[in-house]
Subunit: 227 residues, 4 copies
């Protein structure tokens, strides 16, 4: 079926990464379906046919972008989380991980959030596996948190997807020039998530900064995905 061999030279990989980066940008701006491979050809300054050396289908291109996002997200999470941390901290690290990646790779994340269903079966299934693994991480953490806290609990799925909703919605409104800088955005979002809008403002800032092993600044500096 697939006409291309599997090349793995350094050169090939670098070029592919470049194509993914640029494509993600265009997909984010125009939407996957509105984007023609010609647009990508134009933006990458490669010939139309030349692009097809790097992927077999426009859909595979979308898949490659999404797959890479999830894989990176999971890798970074595994690297960042230590079993020593308490649950709350781990949740916060998870969210920081997510948000930092999000904000530093806004295009890719918008594509992930928005073009979810643009994949065809085959690819959608593969992505679903990754996504499930990713969602399970935070779900397990929230369950652990709830077990610890006791009392009347919020439904687990609601608790989970509420968090994702808050975070993933960002691409629809966040304007770097107008809105809070990333670290503060993250902090405030977590405040709302943990303590609610009503009390979130009141919680001492220390709670947010002192418990995390890696300071936000450190986390941030590592983020760019494209090299």
């Amino acid at each position: 079926m697939s006409n291309r061999l599997e090349p793995t030279s350094r050169n090939y990989d670098e070029k592919l990464q470049g194509i993914l980066k640029i494509s993600a940008k265009i997909f984010a701006e125009k939407g996957f379906h509105r984007t023609s491979v010609r647009d990508i050809s134009r933006a990458t300054k490669m010939s139309l046919a030349g692009l097809y050396y790097y992927f077999t289908t426009k859909e595979e291109l979308l898949y490659l972008i999404q797959e890479r996002c999830f894989v990176t997200l999971l890798q970074r999470w595994e690297r960042a989380a230590t079993p020593v941390m308490d649950v709350r901290t781990r949740i916060r690290v998870f969210a920081e991980n997510h948000l930092s990646f999000f904000c530093h790779n806004m295009h890719e994340m918008k594509v992930m959030a928005h073009e979810d269903e643009s994949l065809t079966e085959e690819f959608q299934v593969k992505i679903l596996v990754l996504k499930r693994r990713y969602v399970r991480v935070i779900m397990d953490l929230i369950r652990e948190l709830q077990d610890q806290e006791g009392g009347k609990k919020v439904d687990l799925r609601v608790a989970t997807f509420t968090l994702f909703g808050m975070m993933n919605w960002i691409y629809t409104w966040y304007q770097p020039k107008r809105d809070l800088p990333l670290p503060q955005l993250m902090e405030q979002m977590l405040r709302i998530y943990f303590f609610g809008v009503l009390h979130g403002g009141a919680v001492e800032a220390s709670w947010f900064n002192s418990t995390s092993g890696a300071s936000s600044k450190e986390t941030f500096s590592l983020w760019h995905n494209n090299q």
Copy 2:
């Protein structure tokens, strides 16, 4: 745009509503760009050319769906909110309004949330006006709430769009058969929003039910948009 007179016969209106409803469903399922006017022709059992009596452009069709959503949302809000209510209640009513409409018109809302940017300039501008008006409502309420509460405050835009993110993300994960029924979903979401996951579960249920002027049940029964 439209050269023809605006027909207003009862028949015409009914038919148009039917087309909008069916189109929204297909747009929600396949995405706006993947949906061809032929798909709509098939689903409505009208001829391709026949459809064009009811709209001039596929994009106008999308616009009509979105416009109708915002208009209804705003109307319902104005009908539901009373100046007597206190801020918290008004916020809750707003959210209930939004969520109820959302869940009862999932297709339309998914289209609204998802196909936001699929509109062309011209139409996008018109929708933006409505959307801004709608957003301002809740933004003003949140500001009022924060003024009342005093203390350190969360950024207004963050507070606003966090709420929308939580709510609008629903279309990506909510499965009626698997998840909580709508009223409870609403309640839990508001708990998280107001009090946070940590304490949200503990707040007495009474808080949620007794203060609202209109009971959820009443609210719900009004919701279906399609007749």
Copy 3:
């Protein structure tokens, strides 16, 4: 799957027949795969997209041509053959039928003989059913003949496909201006088939002409398929 309705107006049918005729000609001249739908668009003076109103796939176009050939061939045979005739005559009538159609619809028949395997599964299966029915007719006749004659027999499949080979190969060499006129071509071919090159020439011509119910001339005048 199929986007088009099934129109059956007189006009539609006539137009489709015209397209089939012209396409058959081009397929015969350039081969199916070398022919682009653009070529057909040019030859029919219809727009590229306009053609697709009449078929869904270039392959379906080929199918329609082939199907029509077999159906006509079978119809004509059923009309021409009478149970009264003796076996030899029936065989001759079958061959006359085949050859007359062949020579009067050379393009279509070349396409049938040559582009056999250019059809995709789905269509190939449908054609196979017709072809089998057609082949069985002559096979049964040959078997009957052999039963009657007694003596050492030639293998049935060899006897059958040898006849088809002789006849269908015509498209590769026959030039109307250079070669015998059709009725004589037919006669000579049948002589060879029945009596061999060695003795075929010697058999009295009467054998060929007096036994057939319909004279060749009559048969020929009916042949054009395209109206």
Copy 4:
């Protein structure tokens, strides 16, 4: 056409033959136009660019296959025929030659029979020369036969191409597992050709076997073209 020197190393020749063999197989299976050079690259396990060392054009590849067929066919004929033989025997030897080669190199022969017109002008002309030479051989024999026999004669072209039709059509129906083994197929075909279906079965077998200088077995053992 070709700018490069003609390499003649043993290695080169062997490799080219391998490529021709494999290509013939694919051409036979998928048809010339449907076959991409990539298909050949895959099947030969050579790189796309590497193949072009052995031919300059996909069409040249087809040409090489066909040319080699005709050349071999002519060589074998010249080796097999002796002026001593009587005409009938010579015709039989010609047919045996053709059929044996055909059946032992089905792929190549199908390509020859089927992809006749797929060549471009230039190449087609070259092949035509060979083909004419080949056809003339049998045509001359048949003329000689007819002169000898006297009586009313069958048209020469009809007599010639009827024979080719019978033989070349084989690729469309012959299934080794289902049909007669090759020597019998040959015998029966020749019976039909010489004596007709009606009497062909009755002719004594001896006629076929005793007069031929080379027994079929011998003929067959020489046939494989690919080394």
